[in-house]
C-alpha cells in the first residue's frame, strides 16, 4: 500500500507538470493571501466567490486553484493578527495573543517568519498523513457522533481555560458574556428565537468575526491612541537575516510542533475545525511549556502552536470531504459544492474513479504549500514595513478595512455598528483587566458545544451516561477533566516532588 501511494503521488506530480496548473496555483495563492489579509472575507467566502469563475477550467485545474486560495488564506490570516491585532481569519485569533506583543516589541518580522514556517510545517505533516493514511483515517471520522463532538469541544475549553492574573470573577463574567452572545439568534435544535426581542436584525446572532474585529482590532487602536503613540514596532530593522535567525530557533520547539500538528490533524479529520484546533493547541502549549509564565507577552512558542495546528487542521479537513462528503470546515463545505458542480461525486468511490483528480490534488498540496511558503516568506519585510507608516495614515485605513470586513461577513450594515460597539467594550475591558480570550473562545465554541450536547441528549433521551458510553467519548471526557484540573494536579505533583528529597534528608 505504501508503494502504491508513492507511485500514485508521482503520477499526481506528473499532472502538475502542466505549466497552466502551476500558474493557477500561484494566482490562487496570491488571491488567497489577499483574502486572508482582509478581515471578514474568510476562506469560505473567498472560495465561494471564485467558484463560478473556475467553471471553464478542468476539475483538476479548478480544485488546484481553489485549494491554493485556501492555503493562501490560511497563510494570510496570520499577517494582520500579528501586525495590527486584527485576526484576518477566525483561526488566527490565538496567533494575536503572542504575535501582536512581538510586533509591539519590534519583532514583527520574527513573528511573521515563525507563523509562516509553522503553518508550513503543520500543513506538510498533515499532507503526509493524508497521503499514506487516507482510508484508515477517514473511517475514524465516522466514529464521531454528537456526544464525541461535545467531548472534543469540552476538551478544547478545558485545555484553554486556566486561571491567569485576572480576578477569577472577571474571567467568569467575560466568559459568560461570550456564551450569552453566542446564544443570541435562532436555536439550532428547537428553532426557538432567543434574545432577538422581535428584531429580524438580531436573528443572525453575533458573529464571532465581527466581535473579534471590534474587540481586538478597534479596541487596540483606541488603546494605542490613548497612549498617544504610533505603532511601536516601527524602528525594527527589516531584512531577510531575521528569517534565518528565527529559523535557527524554531527546531527547539519540535515537541510543540508535533503536538500541535497532531491536535490539528485530529480536529481537521473528525471534523472539529481549524479554530478550535488553534485554541486547543495554544492552551496545551501554554500548559506544558517551560516558559508558560511568559505566554501572552510575546513568546514565539505562542505563535508556533496555533499556526501549526490551524494549518494542519485546515489541510486534513479536506480528507473527510473527499472520502466521506463531510466538510471538515466551512471552506471545505464550499469546495464540496464545487466538486458536485464539476460533476464529481465525493465519497469512497472518488479515489478509484477519479485517480487523476485525487492525486493531482494531493500532489498540489505538497507543491502549493512550498510555493505559498516561498511567496509569503519573501514578503515578510514588506509586511513588517507597513508598521513604518505613520499612525495617522494607517489608523483610518485599518478602521476602513475593519468596517469592510464586518460588513462582508453577513452583508449587513448593522454589523459595522456592532463592531464599533465591540471596539469600545474591548477598550473598557482591557483597561479594567477583564480578559478577552475567554470571551472570544466562549463565543466561538458556545453555540457548537450547546448544539452537540443537546443533540447527544436527544439521542440518549436525557441520559448523561452517553458521555461515557464508549471508550472514545469516555477517554476524551477524561482528558478534558485532567486538563481542567491540571493546575491542581501540577500543584500536587510539585509538592510530592519537593517533599521526597526533603524526606530523604
Amino acid at each position: 500500500m505504501l508503494m502504491e501511494s508513492i507511485s500514485s503521488l508521482f503520477h499526481g506530480f506528473g499532472i502538475l507538470a502542466d505549466p497552466v496548473n502551476i500558474l493557477y496555483m500561484c494566482v490562487g495563492i496570491t488571491l488567497g493571501v489577499l483574502i486572508g489579509v482582509l478581515p471578514g472575507l474568510g476562506g469560505a467566502n473567498g472560495v465561494a466567490i471564485l467558484l463560478p469563475l473556475t467553471f471553464s477550467m478542468s476539475p483538476t485545474a479548478a480544485i488546484i486553484m481553489l485549494s491554493s486560495i485556501y492555503w493562501g488564506a490560511l497563510f494570510g490570516g496570520a499577517i494582520t493578527s500579528i501586525l495590527f491585532n486584527i485576526p484576518g481569519e477566525p483561526w488566527s485569533v490565538a496567533t494575536t495573543f503572542d504575535g501582536h506583543p512581538m510586533a509591539q516589541q519590534g519583532r514583527a518580522d520574527e513573528a511573521l517568519t515563525a507563523a509562516f514556517s509553522s503553518s508550513f510545517v503543520g500543513a506538510f505533516l498533515a499532507v503526509i498523513v493524508l497521503t499514506f493514511l487516507a482510508p484508515i483515517v477517514a473511517e475514524f471520522a465516522l466514529e464521531f457522533g454528537p456526544a464525541e463532538f461535545f467531548a472534543v469541544q469540552l476538551l478544547t475549553f478545558c485545555s484553554f481555560v486556566g486561571m491567569g492574573r485576572e480576578s477569577p470573577f472577571k474571567v467568569l463574567a467575560a466568559m459568560m458574556l461570550g456564551f450569552s452572545l453566542a446564544a443570541v439568534g435562532m436555536d439550532g435544535v428547537t428553532g426557538t428565537l432567543r434574545m432577538t426581542f422581535g428584531t429580524v436584525e438580531l436573528m443572525r446572532g453575533f458573529d464571532f468575526l465581527i466581535a473579534v474585529i471590534g474587540l481586538f482590532g478597534v479596541g487596540e487602536i483606541l488603546l494605542t491612541m490613548e497612549e498617544g503613540l504610533a505603532f511601536r514596532g516601527k524602528s525594527a530593522k527589516i531584512n531577510m537575516r531575521v528569517v534565518l535567525q528565527t529559523w535557527a530557533r524554531l527546531p527547539t520547539f519540535w515537541v510543540t510542533y508535533l503536538r500541535s500538528a497532531a491536535v490539528g490533524c485530529w480536529l481537521g479529520i473528525t471534523p472539529g475545525g481549524a479554530t478550535p484546533a488553534s485554541f486547543m493547541s495554544y492552551g496545551l502549549a501554554r500548559r506544558f511549556s517551560r516558559n508558560r509564565q511568559k505566554f501572552g507577552t510575546g513568546e514565539i512558542e505562542g505563535v508556533v502552536a496555533p499556526e501549526t495546528a490551524a494549518h494542519a487542521a485546515g489541510t486534513s479537513a479536506l480528507l473527510p470531504m473527499l472520502t466521506l462528503g463531510i466538510p471538515g470546515s466551512p471552506t471545505a463545505a464550499v469546495m464540496l459544492g464545487g466538486l458536485l458542480i464539476w460533476g464529481l461525486q465525493p465519497g469512497p468511490t472518488l479515489f478509484i474513479e477519479q485517480k487523476d483528480f485525487v492525486w493531482g490534488l494531493i500532489a498540489s498540496m505538497y507543491l502549493s504549500n512550498v510555493v505559498g511558503f516561498i511567496i509569503v516568506l519573501t514578503t515578510v519585510p514588506a509586511w513588517a514595513a507597513i508598521l513604518r507608516i505613520p499612525f495617522s495614515i494607517i489608523a483610518p485605513i485599518i478602521l476602513v478595512m475593519c468596517a469592510v470586513g464586518a460588513y462582508t461577513v453577513h452583508n449587513a450594515l448593522l454589523d459595522v455598528s456592532i463592531m464599533l460597539v465591540f471596539g469600545v467594550i474591548g477598550y473598557l475591558f482591557k483597561k479594567l483587566q477583564y480578559p478577552l480570550a475567554p470571551l472570544v473562545l466562549a463565543l466561538v465554541l458556545g453555540d457548537m458545544a450547546e448544539s452537540s450536547f443537546r443533540r447527544a441528549m436527544l439521542i440518549s433521551q436525557g441520559e448523561m451516561s452517553i458521555f461515557w458510553s464508549n471508550w472514545l467519548v469516555g477517554l476524551i471526557c477524561l482528558l478534558a477533566m485532567i486538563m481542567l484540573f491540571w493546575p491542581l494536579i501540577g500543584f500536587v505533583l510539585d509538592r510530592l516532588n519537593t517533599r521526597k528529597p526533603a524526606e530523604m534528608l
Binding site: L34, L38, L41, N45, S167, F169, K170, L172, A173, M176, L177, F179, S180, A183, D187, V189, T192, L193, R194, M195, F197, V218, I221, L222, M225, E226, E227, G228, L229, A230, K234, P390, F391, S392, I393, A395, P396, I397, L399, V400, A403, V404, Y407, T408, L413, V416, L420, L428, F429, K431, L432, Y434, E450, F453, R454, A456, M457, L458, Q461, G462
Partner: protein, 176 residues
C-alpha cells in the same frame, strides 16, 4: 520617521487631568454586566429554562449562564463597594481621553455616513479628514491617499471578487 505626524497627548499646564476614578468605572461595568445578565435570564426563562425528558430546553443553558454572570459581576461590584482601599486613581487622563474621542468620533461619523453615501465615498472622506485633522497633513497629501484606498477597494471587491459593498448616489451615477 515623520514624527510630527504622530500623536502625543498635549499637557496644558493648569488644566486638570481628572476624569473619573477607576473604581467608578469598575462599578459601572459590573452593573452593566449585571443588567445584561438579567436580560439574558429573563428572556431564557420566557423560552423555557427547564430540563425536559429529552434534555435541556432552549433557555436552559443561557439561563444558568446568566445566573453565573450575574453572581460573578455582583461579587466584583460588591468588592469595589466594600473595599477599604478603593482604587481612586484616574481611569483615563483627560488629554488621553480626548485623543481616544478624536479617533472614535470620526469613526462613528464614518459608519453613519456609509448609510447615506456608501462605503467608498465615506472612506475617502474619513481617511482624508483623519489625516488632515489628526495627522496635520496638507490636503495635497491627504486627498490622494483618501481617494486611492477606496479606489483599490472598489476594484478589489466590486470588480475582482464581485462582492457588492454598500454604495451611494455617486456609484449609482457611475452605473453601479
Amino acid at each position: 520617521m515623520s514624527d510630527k505626524h504622530d500623536l502625543v497627548p498635549e499637557h496644558k499646564p493648569g488644566q486638570s487631568e481628572r476624569t473619573v476614578s477607576t473604581r467608578a468605572m469598575e462599578l459601572a461595568v459590573a452593573a452593566a454586566l449585571m443588567l445584561v445578565a438579567a436580560v439574558v435570564m429573563s428572556d431564557s426563562w420566557r423560552v423555557g429554562a427547564g430540563w425536559a425528558v429529552d434534555g435541556p430546553q432552549a433557555g436552559y443553558f443561557p439561563f444558568y449562564i446568566g445566573v453565573i454572570m450575574f453572581v460573578a459581576s455582583a461579587i466584583t461590584f460588591g468588592v469595589h463597594v466594600l473595599t477599604k482601599a478603593p482604587d481612586l486613581s484616574n481611569f483615563v487622563d483627560r488629554s488621553a481621553l480626548l485623543l481616544v474621542l478624536k479617533v472614535l468620533a470620526p469613526t462613528v461619523g464614518f459608519v453613519v455616513l456609509i448609510e447615506f453615501v456608501g462605503i467608498y465615498v465615506a472612506a475617502a472622506i474619513f481617511i482624508s479628514v483623519f489625516m488632515v485633522w489628526l495627522g496635520s497633513y496638507s490636503l495635497v497629501k491627504a486627498i490622494p491617499v483618501g481617494v486611492a484606498v477606496p479606489a483599490v477597494l472598489f476594484w478589489l471587491f466590486e470588480i475582482m471578487f464581485l462582492i457588492p459593498l454598500p454604495k451611494g448616489p455617486l456609484e449609482a451615477a457611475l452605473g453601479y
